[in-house]
Structure formats: structure tokens, C-alpha cells
Symmetry: C2
Subunit: 500 residues, 2 copies
């Protein structure tokens, strides 16, 4: 299953644990606060209020960026393995594009000041812009991924990886197809990504909005209260049923009988075959058209998931409801089953790490003629996954190399800047990643120290003697072994040394 | 010099010109408007005002995104070759972080509505956030690149690649070093990127703010008018000297004599050695401390550029001034020398394609104690370069593949969905990029057509016979040759076929 290079391996510096330390500006030791975003309210902040990033946002220093890029690369590898194309949309959208799509959450949208011209807002997710894009370009069939930042004026909980500016990684399939085939692929993708990333054991909960709505209907809830009932049920993963029941009766005005009736249903979960059959034979639910459709599709979905060999980690769970308004069919959410406590001092509570579902009505809200384009998609909770990986690496004391430099061009004594500039040009021209210190006459020790600090594996040293002999002294930084290489063979020798 | 794969080559579909057409949603023919951003004001827009992106912004469809990613990859390759680490900063900054850094251009900053809490704005470039980042984290030494979107409420000129939301690609070196070594590397980077991208002949103009200020001083301009004089001089690349002189005398209130005097200097450019010597011997200028410093450094810079072997495309040009306030030393700007007319119907006017310079005072504006961190950096005008590449590819009729799918899993007759789902699982597990149609019983012809439309090179076909025989029929889509492969050898055979 490990098609993607495991994230926790292979990131050590070439020199491994023998590399003594990192210079602050180039490589950030994960174990020593290097990845911690700068905190407002610290002593430094007091002097000048301007010296901070906006609330709920953070800078991504090099070690963070390098780790994030590797994580995103693993996700993109999976999306591409499934044939998706990439798109991008503006961070800015017209306000009216976003309005009426998110229900109660709309109050968390960042709006731009009216500076003349159009009224704008920052995108809240990647799904609504995707639907707008499909409708605008009259696209009825597309498999795309989109990785980009979105914005929510929510209460940040930065230790749990919840920010006001954060990345979403979305994969969606738009088009009219035979039932449940694209839906099954979305679940397969979640399964592959969570397996590839080796985050520990996980469970993907699956449900269907049509089944939930069928349940509400047979429990006597008016259709106008389906959405609000859904939101309340959605809290079942965080609070016990008694509390959810209380909210239904107290705040949402459902009858105690209806609530109890709903409770009997939504607390069901587990082995899918038995549960689906049981519900299909439920005298009331089997009479409800929506629920029947949903249950039939759920049966089909599990057939496909069985062929994919992934049902072991998938649970049909009637308590799963998902907060967003726009879902119309299958919904799902992945959670990690155990905290990664081994290396971690304080376990991170991360909540769900992926979620998604079917939204067949959203594109139609944008199409001038209301034409629908059925869609199903998944969003990978990359920020939460990142906070787990960050903790894990910090705890293990592993270091992230933040540059890829292969060779430092160095000189052993003074008046050799010209020699360094010439040699480094030759290396760059050959595609070798090379650096030199920006000093006219740096000490050799400083140059070698720089290699150790930043993980550069080789030093190419030219002194007067080497220039006269037409050679370059190639030094292996870890072993300290030096060999004279004829200058015209240097590039080949460096390539040979750096072969994996 | 071609260390980076040339952008114009190797992007054809595997089948080359024999591939007949692309389906709209997956692959976008560049020659047929597939890359054109959707235009507001078209017939479609009239019906529902919401169906557009904000003014000056655009969606990036798959072919655009694929082309852009290849372009950015070439730029990143160069930045990494020079040892830079990547960082990211928020799109949002505190308003006060941005205020007072951009001079007159500050009016183009997008501000967010006051929704309670901090007053925010969208970043205007990546340089000011970098300076804020350095000061906030007390970093005095860093080589970083940053590729991200920035926002300017400017008048869009979309045919020339000027948008309100656009990418910047910045490389900067911060730290106290020996003079002109990092500055020379920035110019080397511009030279490498423009050469690698094969954009045609180019010229990099170089000047120094200290020389310009020295000129203004010896022409009798008060120091308070240096910045405004600079802005006026900067127009010399677009309008003739007479007009610039008119603005100096008319709008900026300089005396006609001073303007004429400035004119004598700033119209000088060309062979650097001669020009530097001439100015160093200029009786007035040689008495000015700033100008003398600038000229001495310019001499040193050209020494280093000679060692890099790139002076052939670099011109010392006293008319180069650059608009932004924060430059303090060397400044430079790259322009393409000839339009790429060969394949293009309407030549694109693109202006400068890279620019940058030294800004030694910006970090100090953020540091609580005003501590300075000298910086020099370069910004690659990726949007302008993109519009050239886009035009070039459109004119040549080349097609961009937007997915990387290697195999379509297909079936020749009905009732074989389960067989497809099982086989595609095996391929995904082996890391093969595979797709199948989301139909229960697709026609074989449709499946093969999909391969041709989207450039998938291989089809793996399983029918009842193949299942019985334990084989898979592997079809080369371009040649139509089919071979039965034992199922357990399929993955290896696919890998073998797809080897470069």
C-alpha cells in the first residue's frame, strides 16, 4: 500500500544524527520551537503593535513549508493517480456568489471594504467556487483537484490546527454517471491518503442525507426543519445523545416523542450489511421514498467498497450528518481512532481529518437555467494532519532540511573570490545546486561549518594549488574525506556521489 | 545552459498530432480558446450578474494550471539551485504593516471591511511581508524564495498579463555581506531563468539609487524631491525625454536648467566600463559621496558579472529608476528585446519580465529598535512570461495534457463493472495512474475514445475470456496493438511501456 514515500522517513540530513546543529535562518530544528508560529502577545509584540500576523493566521517558516510541501505532494500524487486535473480560482469572489450557500456559517465570511466597484469577499471553501466555475463555463463533466487557502472568521484553535487562513485539498467529480461509482472512488481516495500518510488507525463514517431526511420525515419532523435537525444530529460525535435530545426539544422545538424516535435511529451504526437490511425492513422507513433510495444506494456503495477491499475501515453511521447545507446524498467523514501518543508529550486532539459528500444541487444554483450538474467530492483536512506530523517530528527530534544545496564552493585562503565565482558558475550551468558564502575571504572552517549547519553533503574547494593543478578538492562533509578531482570531471563526480 | 526542460517541448500528447481532439472538461486545446479566461460582459453574463469572477481576476482552467505549474517549476528549480528555502506568509496583513511602504501606490491596496477586531488588508507584494517576517522573528540572515498571489486594485490590462490578483515569484537574500556578491547572484538568477525559459533575446538594465540621488544632488535638486524625481525618470522607458522633462518642470517644479542637467546624465547608458569610468571622472559627480559609493559598487558588480560570464546581456542604464520607495542601492529590470512574432498573430506587449534591487532600510522600519537587515532581491514577472508562453502555444496549436493518467481500465462487454473495480484497485495499489469510466456498462468504443480525447496512452481491457485465462489485454492507444499479458505481470509491463 505504501506507494508514497512515508512522510516520517528519509528526511534526516545526510549526516544523520551526527550533524550538530542548524543555523536559525536556513534550517529549523523541529524539536526546538523552530516550527512554532510567532505568537502575538509575547514580549516582542508589546513594543510595536504592527509586528504580528493577523489573528488566526501565521507565517510558514522554511521547515514548516518544506514539511507542508511534502505532505501536499503525497496528496497530489493520490489525486493524480485517480486522473484529476488541477484548477485554480481567485481568492476573491463576488459577495453574492458566496451568499446563501453556507447556512448559518455565512457570518464567518471575510468581506472586503467597499472601495468602489464590486462587493467582494474571501472564499470560504473551494466547493462553492468550483460550482460557480462549472456553471460559468457550462462544464458538465470534470474530475478536478484544487489545493488552496480559504478564509473563515472563526475562533481559531491553533494547537488543534484550526486557523482563519488555512489550506483545503479538494478532489471532486462532476457529471451525470451511474450511481455510487464516483462516490466509491472518493472514499477510496480518503482510504489511500490516510494509509499512505501512516497516521495510525482510522475510521471513515458514511451516511446519506436522504436516509437522514427519511428518518426525520417518519419521525414527524416538518421538511422545513430538516436542515436544523441535521445540524443538531451532527453534534453527536462531540456530545452525548441526552444533550442532543435536549437541544432538539429545547432550542429546535421538536416534540420529545419525535426526538426520542430520531434517537433510536441515529444511534445506530456498525456492520453495514446487517444495518442496511434492518433499515430496509423497518416498517416505517421502508415506506419513505427518499430513505429507500438512500438505503439502496448505500447497499450499492458497500458492494463497490468491498471490491476495492476497504470496507474494514468504513462504518455506516446514522449519526453522521455534516454541517453544510449543500449536501444531497452520500456524506462521509474520516476520524483517527487513536492518538499518536508514542512520541508526543501532549496528545493533539485533531477531530476529523477528511470529509465530503454528494452535492447535486449546488451548480444549479449558479446556472442561469438552473441546470444541475451532480457532484461528489472530498476535502482532506490537511492542517489537522499537518499538526499531527509536526508534533510527531518534533517529538522524535528529527530535522527537516529546508534547502537542497548539494555543494558548497569554498576556498582555503584569501584572494580567491574570483575562483569561487567562476567555479560556482560552472556548477550552476551543469544544474548542480551550489552555494558559496557571500564573503570575499571567508575562513575555511566557517565554510565547512555552514555545510554542517545546513546539511550540504559536499564541499568543492579550490586554492592556488588546485588552480595550478587543474583540479578541485572534493570533500565529503560527513566523513571529511577529501579527493582531488580533475576539474573537467568534477560535475560527473558530484552527480555520481549524489546518486540515490 | 539548458538545465531546465525547455517549456515549449515535450508537452505534446504521447500520440502527438495524431490525437484527434480533446474533451472539453479534461483537456483544453490551447489553440481554441481553452485558455481564455471567461469574460464578463458576454451573453452568458447578462442573465445572472453573479456568474463572474471579480474584475481583474480569472479562473485558471486545467490547461492554464498545468502550463503555469511547469513554468513555476522551472523558476523554483533555479531558486533551489541557488540554495534558497521556501517560506509562506498570510495573504492578509494588518493594514498598518502595509501602510507607508509603497508611496503613492498605497491607494491600490485592497482593504478588508471592519468586521470587528483587527483592521486588515490584502498583501500588495511579497517584499514587505518578508521584511515584516524577518523583523518579527529577529532573523538577520536568510536566502528565501516565495511564490504566491498578491493583490492590487490597479486598472487591469489582461491581454498584457496584468491582473488584480497575480502571482509573484520572489528570491531575496537578507544579511550583512561583502558588497555586491549577493547582488550579482540576483542578476545571475534573472539571466538563468530568462535563458532557461527560451523567451528570446533579453536585456537586463542596471542602475543604482545612490547614483541617481547623487545626480539629483549635483543638479541642485533638494533631497525632499529625490523620490518624486525618481518616479518621473522611471517613465523614460515609455515616453521620450522631452515629455519627462516637461513633467519635471511643469508638475514637479524643477527648474528648466536642473531638468536639462539631469537629462544629460540619465540618457546615458551602454558599455559599462567606459560609462562608469566617465562618471567617476565627472568633476561634479565624483565629488558626491553617494554617487561615488554607487559607482564604486557598480564597478565591483560588473567585475563579478564578468566572472559569471553574463555581461553580454546587462546594460548600465542611468534612466532606470524603478517606482517603489524602498530601494536604496542597486536596482535592475529585465526586458525582452524582440517580440516573439513567428507564430503569433497579435504580438503581445509585455513590458518588463523581471525586476528588483537592494532595500537596506525596510526591515529596520519594522524592528522595534530600528535594527537594519540589508536585503537584495528579485521578482520574476511570471504573469507576463505566462502570457507570452500562452500565446506561443496557442499559435503553434500545441496541446497541453492536463492529467497524467497512464492506463484506462476498460471492459469489452456488459456486466463487468466488478472486474474493472478489482483491476483498477490493483493498479492504484501499485502506484499506476489509472481511470475508468463511471458507467456500469460503457461501450468499448467510448472507452477508447476517452483515451484518445484525454491522451491516456494505454488501455487495460478485461472481458470474460481474459478473466478465465488470467490475462489482461493491454492496448497501445496510438498504435492500436493489443497484447495479452498475464495478470500478475501487468504492473511490470505497464511500467516497462511507460519508461521514458
Amino acid at each position: 500500500m505504501l506507494r508514497v514515500v512515508p512522510l516520517a522517513a528519509g528526511w534526516l540530513l545526510p549526516g544523520g544524527p551526527s550533524v550538530p546543529r542548524f543555523s536559525r535562518a536556513r534550517a529549523w530544528p523541529l524539536g526546538h520551537g523552530g516550527l512554532r508560529p510567532w505568537r502575538a502577545g509575547s514580549a516582542e509584540a508589546g513594543r510595536r503593535s504592527v509586528l504580528k500576523t493577523p489573528k488566526g493566521t501565521r507565517d510558514h517558516p522554511p521547515a514548516y513549508t518544506a514539511l507542508r510541501e511534502r505532505l501536499l505532494a503525497a496528496v497530489v500524487t493520490c489525486f493524480k493517480r485517480h486522473g484529476a486535473a488541477a484548477i485554480d480560482t481567485p481568492v476573491l469572489e463576488l459577495r453574492e456568489t458566496l451568499m446563501g450557500k453556507y447556512g448559518e456559517e455565512a457570518k464567518l465570511i471575510y468581506e472586503l471594504q467597499d472601495q468602489g466597484g464590486e462587493l467582494l469577499a474571501l472564499r470560504y471553501d473551494l466547493t462553492v467556487p468550483f460550482a460557480r466555475y462549472l456553471a460559468m463555463n457550462k462544464i458538465t463533466n470534470m474530475k478536478r483537484y484544487h489545493i488552496a487557502k480559504v478564509y473563515r472568521r472563526d475562533n481559531p484553535a491553533t494547537t488543534r490546527g484550526r486557523y482563519r487562513e488555512f489550506y483545503q485539498c479538494d478532489f471532486d467529480i462532476a457529471g451525470q454517471f451511474d450511481p455510487m461509482i464516483p462516490d466509491a472512488e472518493c472514499l477510496k481516495i480518503v482510504h489511500e491518503i490516510l494509509s499512505d500518510l501512516q497516521l495510525g488507525d482510522f475510521l471513515i463514517k458514511v451516511n446519506d442525507r436522504r436516509i437522514l431526511n427519511g428518518i426525520f420525515a417518519v419521525c414527524g419532523i416538518p421538511e422545513s426543519k430538516f436542515v436544523t435537525a441535521c445540524c443538531t444530529v451532527d453534534k453527536l460525535d462531540k456530545v452525548p445523545w441526552e444533550e442532543v435530545r435536549g437541544e432538539m426539544v429545547g432550542e429546535k422545538g421538536l416534540s420529545p416523542e419525535a426526538a426520542d424516535h430520531i434517537g433510536e435511529y441515529v444511534q445506530l451504526h456498525g456492520e453495514h450489511c446487517g444495518l442496511i437490511e434492518r433499515l430496509l425492513q423497518d416498517p416505517k422507513l421502508s415506506q419513505n421514498k427518499l430513505a429507500k433510495e438512500g438505503l439502496g444506494d448505500m447497499k450499492l456503495l458497500f458492494e463497490y467498497l468491498t471490491l476495492f477491499g476497504i470496507t474494514g475501515k468504513i462504518s455506516f453511521d446514522l449519526s453522521l450528518a455534516r454541517g453544510l447545507d449543500y449536501y444531497t446524498g452520500v456524506i462521509f467523514e474520516a476520524v483517527l481512532l487513536q492518538q499518536e501518543n508514542e512520541h508526543v508529550e501532549e496528545p493533539v486532539s485533531v477531530g476529523s481529518v477528511a470529509g465530503g459528500g454528494r452535492y447535486d444541487g449546488l451548480v444549479g444554483m449558479f446556472d442561469p437555467k438552473g441546470r444541475k450538474v451532480p457532484c461528489v467530492g472530498v476535502s482532506i483536512g490537511i492542517e489537522r494532519i499537518f499538526s499531527i506530523l509536526e508534533q510527531r517530528m518534533k517529538a522524535s527530534g528529527e530535522k527537516v532540511r529546508t534547502t537542497e544545496t548539494q555543494v558548497l564552493v569554498a576556498t582555503p585562503h584569501k584572494h580567491l573570490l574570483a575562483a569561487r565565482l567562476k567555479l560556482i558558475s560552472e556548477l550552476w550551468a551543469a544544474g548542480i545546486k551550489a552555494e558559496m558564502l557571500y564573503k570575499k575571504d571567508p575562513k575555511l572552517l566557517k565554510q565547512l561549518q555552514y555545510c554542517e549547519d545546513t546539511g550540504i553533503p559536499l564541499a568543492a574547494i579550490v586554492g592556488e594549488q588546485e588552480l595550478t593543478d587543474g583540479v578541485v578538492k572534493l570533500r565529503d562533509v560527513a566523513t571529511r574525506v577529501e579527493v582531488d578531482i580533475p576539474r573537467e570531471k568534477l560535475v560527473d563526480e558530484i552527480r555520481r556521489r549524489l546518486e540515490p
